[in-house]
């Protein structure tokens, strides 16, 4: 599947396209098929996101997983600071990116 990620203009937070807006959670991602670049152009023009790009992802039992480790770390947060990830209660959350 093709998914979109970028950053929130004001906060810089990593965001993911959920089909109608931008979510902080990768599991909300929508498959954009071949429409990714069109969505990016529209959303960046409206300043709802910046530095957006299309990536490959796959649906797994654990949710949507970006194909590349860099995007998995973006999705989770720093593996060396579980307390700063989106899953602060899970000290093993970093293993998801490997």
């Amino acid at each position: 599947m093709k998914i979109l990620t970028g950053n929130d203009l004001k906060t810089g937070a990593v965001t993911w396209w959920d089909g109608s807006g931008w979510s902080l959670h990768v599991e909300d991602c929508a498959d954009v098929g071949d429409k990714g670049e069109d969505i990016i152009a529209r959303e960046q023009a409206a300043r709802r996101v910046f530095a957006a790009y299309v990536i490959d992802g796959e649906k797994t039992d654990g949710g949507i997983r970006p194909a590349h480790i860099k995007d998995r770390i973006r999705a989770l947060g720093p593996t060396v600071r579980p307390d700063l990830t989106l899953k602060p209660a899970d000290p093993e959350a970093g293993n998801w990116v490997i």
Partner: protein
């Protein structure tokens, strides 16, 4: 230390106001990201893996306690309660909001700090010896010269758009603690036969994807021509440095391609031309700056002995303290490398504590080291035990300076958008592995440096043991290098062979140290043994 005059204040405050307006225009859509990006980078604001990252300049690594306290307060108020001290003696924050950035710069300006020229193709923060002004064996304090060059290079209109970034280091000691010859310009202050102090210039060093050791191009530049000579070096680079390929744009490539001799010839020609142009500031300006770096009021006849009855303290003294030029004082280094910790990270509370302790025990002064530690440069021996106790209570009493646990590591793929692999988890595993069973002690001095990509922010080329993270078909892989040094015996490490996975690289490091322990002769460091026996015995053990 240096204090801003009205011009410094006016420049920094004008820049804050300018960036506040630029940020407003970005947020209201008047500026696109393409237009705004170079503007935010000129103010140290990057976009990293998780958020905006702000890099704050710490000129030649020198801070007072008020500045350090502000760095802690910023970590709490605008970030997530910590900061990361970098290999260019700066600090960076990983979770900055764009809308807060102008306020942070305004807060920094109140303590005479900024983030100008911490990014972009300009002259970056000038680095120096973290023991400057305190070491017993230095020729002179190099910081006034670094400050003069900082003033010359700040907003220099001719050098705002260089072919690539430009890094300068200034030292004044036979012992190199600033990786001087791995800079675009390395300056070593020396004395000539007449006993005059001048500057020896090394140009064209660097790490990154093409590591090079800078050749010396001028043995002695008189101090009243220092800025002019630096200007000549930059002018030749600005004129002929490549702009068609960013990977070949650093001055080291120019010097390598045309040769040090030809580069020097052109610099000398430009220098001769510039001597008549009035580039050099009056020597009175250097003298004005030097007055800011006068010695603090040391106590004459301070006690010369340290009570070593606490063995943990005695160990810390042996490992983390350095001889001071003033009897009764020492230089104390706070390791930001606790066992299993994140190299260079400090919490807001720890930063503020160090600020308070510097005020009480080190004449209000601290230094950031390129090895990502903090120095208290002037501590009375009589105060040392109390200082250590307070540091240790806050998790800052680790006794491992220059040992294998004192690892330089870039933020790597946990934070950096350029990285190919994570650096910090490797550092943590090595630190934990060698802290067990006294192996770290047995090995002694061993400088291990880790970079998460070829840009080499973790100085892997210059580690006695270096580790380079690469992307191998989407999987993290780690190459091992041996034999590098960024000290006065500068050398570049050699890759041992095929890379390793995360656990494999830790095992490989241990095998390399086992070879050293088996083969070392009396008094040899890891690097000495490597240089004596060569890489083959290590490769045999690592790849057996």
């Amino acid at each position: 230390m240096y204090k801003y005059d009205q011009y410094d204040h006016a420049m920094v405050e004008a820049r804050v106001a300018e960036f506040r307006d630029q940020t407003r225009r970005r947020l209201d859509g008047s500026l696109t990201e393409e237009q705004f990006r170079p503007l935010r980078l000129m103010n140290g604001l990057y976009l990293q893996l998780h958020a905006y990252m702000l890099r704050v300049a710490v000129p030649y690594g020198t801070l007072n306690s008020r500045q350090m306290r502000m760095l802690g307060d910023i970590a709490d108020k605008y970030d997530r309660g910590y900061g990361h001290f970098t290999t260019r003696q700066n600090i960076q924050y990983n979770w900055i909001k764009l809308e807060d950035a102008p306020d942070i710069l305004a807060d920094l300006a109140t303590v005479e700090m900024h983030a100008i020229q911490t990014s972009g193709n300009c002259i970056r923060n000038i680095s120096s010896d973290q023991y400057a002004g305190a070491a017993a064996d230095e020729l002179v304090d190099p910081r006034p010269y670094a400050e003069l060059l900082r003033q010359w290079s700040s907003f220099h209109p001719e050098f705002t758009y260089l072919p690539r970034k430009f890094k300068i280091a200034v030292i004044a000691n036979e012992t190199d603690r600033a990786a001087m010859r791995l800079h675009d310009i390395g300056i070593k202050l020396v004395k000539n036969d007449a006993g005059e102090v001048g500057a020896r210039f090394y140009v064209g060093g660097g790490m990154g994807r093409t590591p090079m050791i800078a050749p010396m191009i001028r043995e002695f530049v008189p101090l009243d021509q220092l800025v002019t000579y630096a200007e000549a070096c930059l002018r030749v680079y600005n004129r002929y440095g490549r702009r068609d390929n960013k990977y070949k744009a650093r001055i080291k490539i120019l010097v390598h391609e045309i040769g040090a001799e030809e580069y020097t010839r052109q610099v000398e020609e430009e220098f001769a031309h510039l001597l008549g142009q009035g580039v050099e500031p009056p020597i009175a300006e250097l003298e004005r700056i030097m007055a800011f770096f006068a010695d603090p009021p040391f106590e004459a006849g301070a006690a010369g002995e340290i009570d070593r009855s606490d063995p943990d303290f005695a160990l810390w003294v042996d490992r983390n303290c350095h001889e001071h030029k003033q009897a009764g004082y020492v230089i104390a280094t706070v390791s930001l490398k606790p066992v299993g910790g994140i190299p260079g990270d400090a919490s807001a509370d720890q930063i503020r504590l160090m600020a308070d302790l510097a005020k009480e025990y080190s004449f209000d002064e601290l230094r950031v080291t390129h090895a990502q530690n903090i120095v208290f440069p002037h501590v009375r021996k009589a105060d040392l035990y109390t200082l250590w106790q307070k540091l240790d209570t806050a998790g800052l009493g680790t006794a491992n300076l220059d040992l294998i646990g004192d690892i330089i590591a870039c933020p790597g793929l946990d934070y950096c958008s350029l990285a190919n692999a994570r650096s910090i988890p490797i550092a943590q595993k090595i630190s934990e592995r060698f802290a067990q069973g006294g192996k770290e002690d047995a090995i002694g001095e061993l400088k291990l440096k880790i970079s998460g990509c070829i840009n080499a922010c973790g100085h892997h080329h210059a580690g006695h043991i270096g580790i380079l993270g690469v992307d191998k078909k989407g999987v993290e892989n780690y190459q091992l290098l041996l034999g590098g040094s960024e000290a006065e015996d500068t050398s570049l490490g050699r890759i041992t062979g095929p890379g390793f996975d995360e656990d494999g690289i830790v095992d490989a490091v241990e095998k390399a140290t086992d070879v050293y322990l088996a083969q070392r002769k009396d008094g040899e460091r890891f690097l000495d043994t490597y240089r004596r026996i060569g890489i083959d015995p290590f490769k045999e053990a690592i790849y057996e």
